[in-house]
């Protein structure tokens, strides 16, 4: 009886184990091994020990990349993915509360559009908006009011990539926060009104504390996904001008596949990505500790008595 139960467990777990093995463990081991070689476009496994990691310490560009990454991740997070997402959720839930659910839904759908747009199309749209000539949308408008055209991308590269990523990223927080806010029992809202709270006080003292788990979850989750995302940066600024918007993951990508810098340095690139994994892990552990996620796992995620 007992042995049959055990066999059953193995049988049920097997598919998942195989998938993890094939698509996670094997690539991870391969990456780890590759980071100990100086593999280049010839794809030969030439072991060089820890040379790649030592090279990282001497890489003068890397420290710059590191600060870029921090600025990009936390800038996007603070300005858009959490704060702007929250503002959108508050605004649309306020609209829905006033019996205008369709309007609220329309605005949320609008903010979801960028997410449904293929990255390359989205990138091209921004390239058009930010084009340095008068054909660009922004410069066209500036021109209309008599202003001189601005080369947005080369003059403000970091704000540009934060903005372009944030416009997409905000919708994730918006959806989560919106559903968390609307699932707060109406009676808390009413109680706060009767207790004398205005709209802002209600949000500060009642709404925000009640959605603290979704807030912390989105912060942690989006940190990790921003750390590894580079596709919009690649399309819009390519990491430039001169590394000013090169973040860690893009740096690794360019080392491996980038056409115009020294490239096809697969050994070095994999070493870079492994360090990025390490950074992500440290970030997760810090969040786990600071936000006390263990409590979140053992409690309902939204507090509604």
């Amino acid at each position: 009886m007992k042995r049959r139960g055990y066999g059953m467990i193995v049988l049920l777990l097997l598919p998942a184990l195989l998938i993890i093995l094939a698509f996670y463990v094997v690539p991870a081991v391969l990456t780890g091994t590759m980071s100990l070689t100086n593999m280049d476009h010839r794809l030969s496994w030439n072991f060089v020990g820890l040379d790649n990691y030592k090279a990282m310490l001497q890489d003068t560009i890397l420290s710059r990349v590191f600060w870029n990454t921090l600025l990009y991740v936390f800038g996007t997070l603070l300005c858009f993915n959490v704060t702007f997402g929250l503002l959108l959720a508050l605004a649309t839930s306020y609209i829905a509360e006033r019996q205008a659910e369709r309007t609220s839904m329309f605005f949320r759908a609008l903010w979801l559009l960028p997410r449904f747009t293929p990255p390359i199309v989205y990138g091209v749209i921004w390239l058009w908006i930010l084009d340095p000539t008068r054909n660009g949308l922004l410069n066209g408008i500036l021109n209309f009011f008599g202003g001189r055209p601005v080369s947005w991308i080369s003059e403000y590269p970091m704000p540009v990539i934060i903005l372009t990523n944030g416009v997409i990223g905000a919708s994730f927080g918006m959806i989560l926060f919106y559903s968390a806010i609307t699932s707060i029992s109406k009676e808390y809202t009413w109680a706060a009104e009767v207790d004398g709270a205005g709209w802002l006080q209600r949000i500060r003292y009642v709404t925000l504390p009640l959605i603290r788990w979704p807030l912390m979850f989105v912060t942690a989750y989006q940190t990790l996904s921003l750390l590894t995302s580079y596709e919009y940066i690649l399309i819009i600024t390519g990491g430039g001008p001169f590394y000013r918007t090169t973040v860690w993951s893009l740096y690794a990508y360019n080392e491996a596949f980038g056409g115009y810098y020294a490239s096809y340095r697969f050994g070095y690139a994999t070493a870079l990505t492994l360090v990025l994994v390490l950074i992500s892990m440290v970030a997760s552990i810090i969040y786990w500790r600071v936000f006390r996620f263990r409590e979140m796992m053992s409690e309902p995620k939204i507090e509604v008595i």
Partner: protein, 366 residues
């Protein structure tokens, strides 16, 4: 403190009319109960008084000032929700202090007032706990404190006792009543429990489908129900209600109830009915107003005991007359057993009649 007047208040949610043209005058400093079955519009009425809902039509006055359109925070009402709605992230202290904090009352005064009110309902040793760490009865008292701490002009209680066990309910009932009398605060109590309404309120408004059925003292609800709904809703065990046709037999008038039961009509009632055209009524008499006699009596009907049910201090004695049942309530020590023959006499001045068509009470002098 405030006297409250509702004038032709209607509240519709789309096509659902939750409250239908009600008018009420709620006296200053007393307890008024809104009583009715689930879904009759009690909570909706309360939320309109709090300012959370705006009436679709009609006007609400606090002390002769119209308050339509005035937001909840400016109405100075205390509201205890059915679910209590204590903020789960705040301690008991912070919950009670919240209305004062929003009013920017100085910290020392807040501490003092919270402690004072917490002492009154005996939760002063729980102030540092979170709502999830105290019992339902304690939560209810915290909610009451939060409503009372700002000295409201009007206290609104939405089924405040429904989550409590029987004993705690009796205690809390008395406690609320005591606090209310101590502070002399105008209180509106929403409940679907008639015992709660009758024991706590100075006057009771019985509601059904958004309409007020009767607004009177608790005694009058039991003794002079305005219509058949109030008669059947109030009282436990429920009133015996049956169709009755006024006819005469051997020169005496009787109510024919079904094919087998004939109840002699007392003279006073016969006189009162003389001027009426209709002959068909609904007759109602409460189980406690049926006397069981061993001997025949001119106003009594003979019957055989069908079943006896012991209800604590009383016995419910069940008689059947064909399809009509009559239940009498007698003290538990009265000896009566199944199959026994008894004479049942309704107390003459406790017989209620309702029009068969309109179900409204037929006035019977006396």
């Amino acid at each position: 403190m405030a006297a409250v007047v509702l004038k032709n208040i209607t509240k519709a949610f789309g096509s659902v009319v939750a409250v239908d043209n009600i008018s009420l005058e709620i006296p200053d400093g007393q307890v008024t109960a809104l009583l009715g079955p689930s879904g009759c519009g009690k909570t909706t009425t309360l939320l309109m008084l709090a300012g959370i809902y705006q009436p679709t039509r009609g006007e609400i006055f606090f002390d002769e000032v119209m308050v339509n359109g005035i937001p909840p925070k400016l109405r100075n009402v205390g509201l205890v929700f059915q679910s209590y709605a204590l903020y789960p992230h705040m301690t008991v202290f912070e919950n009670i202090a919240f209305p004062l904090k929003l009013k920017k009352v100085p910290k020392d005064e807040i501490r003092q007032r919270v402690q004072d009110i917490a002492k009154v309902v005996q939760i002063d040793d729980l102030l540092q706990r979170k709502p999830a760490q105290i019992s339902g009865g304690q939560q209810q008292r915290v909610a009451l404190c939060r409503a009372l701490v700002k000295n409201p002009d009007l206290l609104l209680l939405d089924e405040p006792l429904s989550n409590l066990d029987a004993r705690l309910r009796i205690e809390t009932r008395a406690e609320i009543k005591r606090i209310q009398q101590e502070l002399g605060i105008t209180t509106i109590l929403v409940t679907h429990d008639q015992v709660e309404a009758v024991t706590m309120a100075d006057q009771v408004a019985v509601m059904r489908n958004g309409v007020i059925q009767q607004y009177s003292s608790p005694e009058d609800l039991l003794l002079k129900p305005a219509n058949m709904f109030v008669a059947s809703f109030m009282g436990d065990p429920p009133m015996n209600l049956m169709e009755a046709e006024l006819s005469s037999e051997n020169g005496k008038s009787v109510f024919r109830c079904g094919s087998e039961l004939k109840i002699p009509v007392p003279d006073a009632i016969a006189a009162a009915l003389q001027s009426r055209r209709d002959r068909e009524f609904i007759l109602g008499v409460r189980p406690e107003n049926l006397e069981l006699l061993d001997e025949p009596h001119e106003l009594a009907v003979p019957g055989t005991v069908f079943m006896v049910e012991l209800l604590g201090r009383d016995k419910l004695v069940d008689f059947r007359f064909g399809e009509v049942a009559l239940r009498a309530l007698v003290p538990a020590d009265v000896a009566v057993s199944q199959g026994e023959k008894k004479w049942i006499r309704p107390q003459a001045h406790r017989i209620h009649l309702f029009g068969k068509a309109d179900r409204q009470a037929v006035p019977l002098a006396g």
